[in-house]
C-alpha cells in the first residue's frame, strides 16, 4: 500500500509580538514542531490533542493553505507548497476540508445547491455532466432531500448544514478529506448520523481522511490510526486499537482517562482517574526537556532536561517518552 499523504519533519513557527508580560522576551510560537506522519491511501488517521496543540495548523499545512517554516508535505507523490500557482490549484480539487462550524463555513447568501455547485464551476469547467446535476447527485448521496436544495444556510438545521459542507467537499471527488472537528458543533443524536455518513462515504469513495478531533470516542470509532499531539509534536502514534487500548504515553493515558462513561458510578470523579495537573502550557514558552513533564505524574529529573526521542514499542506503535526509552534501550542516552 502506498501513502497518499506524507509529512516529514514539518515545522510551522509564528512570530508573536512580545509585548505583554507573558510573552516578553520570547517571540516564536512553535505551533507545529517537527511532525512526521503518513496516511495510507483509503485509510483514516485521527489527529488528537487539546486546543493549542497545533492540530488545526497541521490541517492548514497539509492543504497548503499556509507555508511551512521547515519540512515537507507530499501529496500523491508531489510536494505541497503554499505557492498559489497552477500546481497548487490543480491539487486543490483532490484535497478538501470539512470544518467544525458549518454555519461559518457556508456562504449565507447562497442556497445549498449553489454552494455545492460552486466548486464544480471553479474546477470542472469542462465536466461532462451539468454542474447542477452532479451537485444534486452528491447532495442526495449525503442524505439531503430535494426540498432542501433551494434553502439558505439559516433555514437548515445543524446536521443538514454539515451535510451541505460535506457535499460541497466531496462533489469534486477528492482523494483526501481533512476534517477539523467535523461533529463538535452538532447535537448528540445528529453526531451519530454524521459519523455513520462519513463512514459510508469513506468506503464508497475510497476516501483517505485526516480526522482532527478531541473526541477519543469518535476517533476510536472511525480511525484506523491515531497520532496524539502535544505542543506541536506527535507524542504517540500507532493503530487506533493499540494506542487507545494500550496507551503508552502518560498524556495519552490521561486523555483516555478523561473520557466519561455514562453509567459508570458517578463517584468516578474522585476515584481511579488520572487528573492532570495544570493546563497545556503556552506554546510560546514550551517547557524544557520533555514538554509534558510539568504535568506528568511520572516525570523524573531526567525528563526536565532532555527531550525524549521517538521509540518503537510495537508494530507501528511509537511513543516519545523516557519511560519507554529506558525500557527499550536499557539506559537513557
Amino acid at each position: 500500500m502506498t501513502a497518499l499523504l506524507k509529512v516529514h519533519n514539518l515545522h510551522r513557527h509564528f512570530a508573536v509580538e512580545g509585548k505583554n508580560e507573558w510573552l516578553a522576551g520570547k517571540s516564536i510560537l512553535r505551533a507545529v514542531d517537527g511532525v512526521t506522519l503518513s496516511v495510507q491511501r483509503g485509510k483514516t488517521l485521527g489527529l488528537v490533542g487539546e486546543s493549542g496543540c497545533g492540530k488545526s495548523t497541521m490541517a492548514k499545512l497539509v492543504l497548503g493553505l499556509i507555508p511551512a517554516t521547515a519540512g515537507t508535505v507530499e501529496f500523491d507523490g508531489k510536494p505541497v507548497t503554499a505557492k498559489r500557482n497552477q500546481a497548487w490549484r490543480a491539487a486543490r480539487r483532490h484535497m478538501q476540508m470539512v470544518y467544525q462550524d458549518p454555519l461559518g463555513a457556508l456562504d449565507r447568501r447562497l442556497t445549498a445547491l449553489e454552494q455545492v455547485t460552486e466548486p464544480l464551476l471553479i474546477h470542472d469547467k469542462q465536466g461532462e455532466i451539468k454542474p447542477t446535476v452532479a451537485a444534486k447527485t452528491m447532495m442526495r448521496a449525503v442524505g439531503l432531500t430535494d426540498n432542501l436544495f433551494e434553502r439558505y444556510p439559516h433555514e437548515l438545521s445543524g446536521g443538514q448544514r454539515q451535510r451541505v459542507v460535506l457535499a460541497r467537499a466531496l462533489v469534486l471527488k477528492p482523494s483526501l478529506l481533512v476534517c477539523d472537528e467535523p461533529i463538535s458543533a452538532l447535537d448528540v443524536s445528529v453526531q451519530a448520523q454524521v459519523i455513520n455518513l462519513l463512514d459510508d462515504l469513506r468506503q464508497q469513495m475510497n476516501l483517505t481522511m485526516l480526522f482532527i478531533s478531541h473526541d477519543l470516542r469518535v476517533v476510536r470509532h472511525i480511525c484506523d490510526e491515531v497520532a496524539v499531539m502535544y505542543l506541536g509534536r506527535i507524542i504517540e502514534q500507532g493503530y487506533a486499537k493499540d494506542v487507545l487500548s494500550h496507551p503508552a504515553h502518560p498524556y495519552t493515558q490521561a486523555l483516555i482517562s478523561a473520557i466519561s462513561t455514562p453509567g459508570m458510578k458517578h463517584t468516578k470523579v474522585s476515584s481511579g482517574r488520572i487528573i492532570l495537573k495544570g493546563e497545556p502550557p503556552n506554546p510560546v514558552d514550551v517547557p524544557t526537556g520533555c514538554s509534558f513533564h510539568p504535568r506528568c505524574a511520572l516525570a523524573t529529573a531526567h525528563c526536565k532536561t532532555s527531550a525524549p526521542v521517538v521509540t518503537r514499542i510495537g508494530d507501528g506503535h511509537t511513543v516519545s517518552c523516557h519511560l519507554h526509552t529506558m525500557i527499550h534501550h536499557g539506559a537513557s542516552s
Binding site: 443538514q160 447535537d187 448528540v188 455513520n196 478523561a258 462513561t261 458517578h266 487528573i275 492532570l276 493546563e279
Partner: protein
C-alpha cells in the same frame, strides 16, 4: 438556611412552567409545562439537545428573559414565589442565592476589568464587603477554586488567563454570594478534555463542602453522569424522563433517552455502526399533536399521535412520559 413551613428539604419547586415567545404577532410556546423539584444540597443533571428548553427554564427562573416572553406557572424558591417578583426583589436572590455560570467564560467576563475587581463587584453587591475585607475574601475564593498564585492572578485580565482558569474565575464569582443553588450551564463544553475533568471535580467538591444544590445543564451524558445524583432528560420543551443517575444509565425507558445513550460511540467495544435517532428535533413553537417525539420514535403507536403522555411515576424516583409498555 432559613426555611418556612414547607417541606424543608425542597429548595426549588417549579410547577407547570410554560414559556412562550411573541413572534410576528404569534405566540410560540417553547416550554410546555415543566415541573421539577430540587432538594437542598442535591446535584441534578439536565440533559437534552439544543433548543429543548434546558437553558431557558433557568433563565426564566432568574427573570432573565426579555419583555417579549410570556411565562406562566410557579417557581417557588425557599418557599417564595419568584415569578412576577419585581426586579429589585429578584436582585436579592439572583446571583446571590441562585447563581449561574455559563458555557463560554471568556464572553461572560468583562474583558476590560481585572478578575479581582470583577469578583469584588459581586462581593460588594451581595455581601457588602469592601476594601481589605473584600480583598481577603477574593483571595480565599480564588484559592477555593484552586487558582494557583491567587495574589498575582487577581490582577490579571481575562485574556491573560486560559479558558479553564477563566471558568474557575466564573465559579469564584458565582460562589461570592454564597448561593444555595448553583446552575452550571454547559460548564465544561468550551474546555479541553483534561481541563474538563478538573472543573467537574472542582464543582463536585465545592458542592459537597458548601452544601449548595447544583444543577448541571449539558448535552453530554458523560458529564452529567459524573456529577449528578439525579438526571432529567428534556426533549422539545418537556421533561420526558427523570431518574437517579444509576437507574437512567442502566434502565432508561424513554425511547429518546435510550437513543441518546445508544448514539454515543462506545470506547471499549467495537461497534460497526452507531445507532442514530432518525430525523431531527422539531422546530421551536411547531405545534405537535400528541407526543413530541412521535416522528422519531421506533415504538410509536396510534395513540401516541393523539395525546401527549404525562409524566408518571414508574418506580421510586423514576418518572417517565411515555405510554410504551415497559421493558422488563
Amino acid at each position: 438556611m432559613t426555611s418556612s413551613a414547607v417541606d424543608s428539604s425542597t429548595l426549588l419547586d417549579i410547577r407547570e412552567l410554560r414559556i412562550a415567545f411573541e413572534h410576528r404577532g404569534r405566540s410560540l410556546e417553547v416550554l410546555h409545562g415543566v415541573s421539577l423539584r430540587i432538594a437542598a444540597g442535591e446535584s441534578v443533571g439536565l440533559v437534552g439537545e439544543s433548543g429543548c428548553g434546558k437553558s431557558i427554564t433557568w433563565l426564566s427562573v432568574l427573570g432573565l428573559l426579555g419583555k417579549h416572553t410570556h411565562v406562566t406557572g410557579s417557581v417557588q424558591f425557599q418557599g417564595r414565589e419568584l415569578l412576577g417578583l419585581s426586579d429589585t426583589a429578584l436582585s436579592q436572590i439572583r446571583g446571590r442565592k441562585i447563581a449561574m455560570i455559563f458555557q463560554d467564560p471568556s464572553s461572560s467576563l468583562n474583558p476590560a476589568q481585572r478578575i479581582g475587581s470583577q469578583i469584588a463587584e459581586s462581593l460588594a453587591l451581595h455581601r457588602g464587603l469592601r476594601g481589605a475585607q473584600a480583598n481577603a475574601e477574593i483571595l480565599e475564593l480564588l484559592d477555593h477554586v484552586e487558582i494557583p498564585d491567587a495574589k498575582r492572578r487577581m490582577n490579571a485580565y481575562p485574556h491573560e488567563l486560559s479558558g479553564g482558569m477563566n471558568q474557575r474565575v466564573m465559579i469564584a464569582m458565582a460562589l461570592a454570594g454564597q448561593p444555595d443553588l448553583l446552575i452550571a450551564d454547559e460548564p465544561t463544553t468550551a474546555l479541553d478534555a483534561t481541563v474538563q475533568a478538573q472543573i467537574l471535580v472542582l464543582l463536585d467538591t465545592i458542592r459537597r463542602e458548601t452544601g449548595m444544590a447544583l444543577v448541571t445543564i449539558s448535552h453530554d451524558l458523560g458529564v452529567i453522569s459524573e456529577i449528578s445524583d439525579r438526571v432529567l432528560v428534556m426533549y422539545a420543551g418537556s421533561i420526558v424522563e427523570s431518574a437517579p443517575s444509576q437507574t437512567l444509565f442502566s434502565q432508561a425507558q424513554h425511547p429518546y433517552s435510550l437513543g441518546l445513550l445508544a448514539a454515543m460511540p462506545a470506547f471499549d467495544v467495537e461497534v460497526h455502526r452507531l445507532t442514530t435517532i432518525r430525523g431531527s428535533i422539531p422546530q421551536a413553537g411547531q405545534l405537535i399533536q400528541g407526543c413530541s417525539f412521535v416522528a422519531r420514535c421506533d415504538f410509536a403507536q396510534d395513540n401516541c399521535r393523539h395525546s401527549a403522555p404525562a409524566l408518571r411515576t414508574i418506580a421510586v424516583g423514576h418518572e417517565l412520559a411515555c405510554t410504551r409498555k415497559l421493558a422488563a
